[in-house]
Amino acid sequence: MTITFPHMGRMYIPVKALFDDLGVKVVVPPPVSKETLEIGTRLAPEMACLPMKINLGNYIQSMEKGADTIVLTGSCGPCRFGYYGVVEKEILKDNGYDADVVILDAPGREPQVLLNRIRKISGNSSWLKIARAFLQASKVVEQVDEFIDILLKKRPRELNKGETDRVQSKFEKEVLICKGSGETLEFIEEYKEKAAQIPERPGVQPLHIGIVGEIYTLIEPYVNLNIENKLGHLGAEVHRGITVTDWVKTHLSLDMIYKRERKKKLKKAENYLSLCIGGHAWETIAETVHYADMGLDGIIQVLPFGCMPEIVAESIIPTISRDKGVPAMTLTVDELTGEAGYMTRLEAFVDLLSQKKGRVYERS
């Protein structure tokens, strides 16, 4: 059994560590590229959302490298993500790929099904070992996000242009060599140190921009055309509405303090949207209100074309923007999104924000 999984930002780091700890052979899909997307676009239904197209590309590319079992998580609607596994399985079958698709769903009436599946993909390790591996992996998740957060702070302030990006790309290249969570955690620690030491220009007061929206689009840099780095280069500090850590803590952990905080945050959306409509639309609205209250300079919503829940959020955001006086913009991405047009919109948005702030920003 050789396991693979779909890409979702830097999720591959903890997932690889997890399977390494369990002693299961795992293939990390090649980084998402144009080719990945082309494979996915060819196989997936035309109107499917972008994450699914990329997932399919990931699987095919991993299978070419020897993977035979695909692990993915699921949900029970109403967002389409919940039915990815089934549709993907059918598509792979018709195209002659014989892969075992294991869907890890929230346990409904039969928790045994989920437990059996976890047991299966963990190579029949003992439950103690599995629990420890999961715990370690969630630590890796948090550490990776902390590392990224340092980079986001550094990018608009860096003294030597491009240094932050260099640290990041070196990190992403080398992290795959680590085996197991222990090594990975040490490695991240080392890079957090490196990132913290990137020299800053004195007295820089960057714009603060919050990005909110559909989770996959926010987390996977290929899909959002690396919006974090682009905004960073334009001299803005980016605040991320949703991270892998948030997802893990909401869905997989028992961290009560976090859950209480989350509830409090969701309550902020009350005046605009007061129930879950699937996906992360509720979070999107809550984060938008939260950022507006925090006094950020601007908010950008990113969603993949046709994302059902985010369309509802998209129609609410202008009202929040008006009520709170914070500029907001929505960017829709799909496989046809061109980098130049996207960049122009980001530049224009940043220009307007800095004019609003009454000063000309310095390009870093």
């Binding site: 389409r80 549709v87 399985k89 018709d94 409509i277 699937g278 996906g279 059902m308």
Partner: protein, 337 residues
């Protein structure tokens, strides 16, 4: 009070329930006009660009009711069957209307959430009835009558009538004079039953001698059975109906062809149509086509595609028994000898 009900989205399915309920409570029900160019344009103008055609149409119908009614009913259908959902946009519909439609009309938001139990779904209507000032007994009586009407309506749908023929009291089925065959029309109620949006497809099929069968004509048990082939329960009620309805039509050899009507950008159809298409290709090999509708769809192109599909279907009927010399079926490749 005059309560306006937009003639959009699930209107053709639930109108007996809604209308009877409010009328029993002593209110007057006003429907928005039939879908027209003006309503469509208004909808497209007010709604966010990314939304799908039916949601834009709903916006248009709400605009049409402004001034005609005191309040406008916006149903928030979260779940119409235990353990299932509908499209997320239905759940967020009141928010979309509130934030997009200017002139702030008074909205009557009616929740329907049967996620836990079917009976609990009606709690939203009860609450709304009380908010409208009716007593508990009156609300219960109105609800009972409304549900009885709805049940009657649904059983008529299952026995093969179309909503149009019931609601407009057309006589019985709209079957063509001589039936050449049947075509399964797979699509959400708001496309299949809106003659403006689907370019009158039912009549066009009838003109060519074909009778249309709708997903609503397939009994629920058959739908459940057909969908049980998938390893995971389908959690969209309408997705399940379309997929199960289509599969049942194929399985029972009820149809000579399948036409899938979908609106551009429909998230659920993207998956459902894919599953149906793949099952059909693998097992049944019945001619199938997908027609995507949006606000730009032109009549001429639509007609051409429909004609081409029917021609192809008929040719196949004529030449289908051409068995190649090596004795395999032309379509499935299975041996026939």
């Amino acid at each position: 009070m005059k309560i306006g009900i937009p003639r959009a989205l699930l209107y053709p399915i639930y109108i007996p329930l809604w209308k009877t309920f409010f009328e029993e409570l002593g209110h007057q029900v006003v429907l928005s006009g039939r879908t027209s160019k003006g309503i469509l344009n208004n909808g497209v103008k007010t709604c966010v660009d990314d939304a799908c055609l039916p949601v834009k149409l709903f916006h248009g119908h709400v605009m049409d009711l402004i001034g005609k009614a005191d309040v406008i009913l916006v149903p928030r259908l979260i779940s119409i069957y235990p353990g299932e959902f509908i499209c997320p946009k239905f759940i967020g519909l009141p928010e979309m209307i509130k934030n997009s439609v200017s002139g702030s009309p008074k909205l009557l938001i009616m929740n329907f959430n049967a996620r836990d139990r079917l009976e609990k779904g009606y709690d939203g209507m009860r609450q709304l009835g009380r908010e409208l000032g009716a007593s508990n007994t009156n609300v219960e009586r109105a609800l009972d009558r409304a549900r009885a009407r709805q049940a009657e309506y649904e059983s008529m749908l299952e026995s093969g009538f179309s909503p149009k023929s019931i609601l407009e009291k057309r006589n019985a089925r709209q079957s063509p004079a001589s039936v050449k065959g049947r075509i399964g029309l797979i699509g959400h109620p708001y496309l299949v039953y809106d003659d403006y949006i689907n370019m009158n497809i039912v009549e066009k099929l009838a003109a060519r001698g074909y009778e249309a069968i709708f997903p609503e004509n397939v009994p629920l048990e058959d739908i459940e059975l057909a969908c049980s082939r998938y390893p995971k329960k389908l959690f969209w009620s309408y997705g399940k109906r379309l997929l199960g309805g289509g599969l049942t039509m194929l399985e029972k050899r009820k149809v000579d062809g399948l036409i899938i009507l979908t609106s551009f950008g429909c998230g659920i159809d993207a998956f459902i149509d894919e599953l149906l298409l793949r099952a059909n290709q693998r097992e049944y090999r019945i001619p199938q086509t997908t027609i995507t509708l949006d606000e730009h769809t032109g009549q001429a192109g639509f007609d051409t595609r429909l004609e081409a599909f029917i021609d192809m279907m008929e040719w196949r009927g004529r030449y289908d028994n051409n068995i190649p010399a090596y004795g395999t079926d032309v379509y499935t490749g299975k041996s026939l000898v």
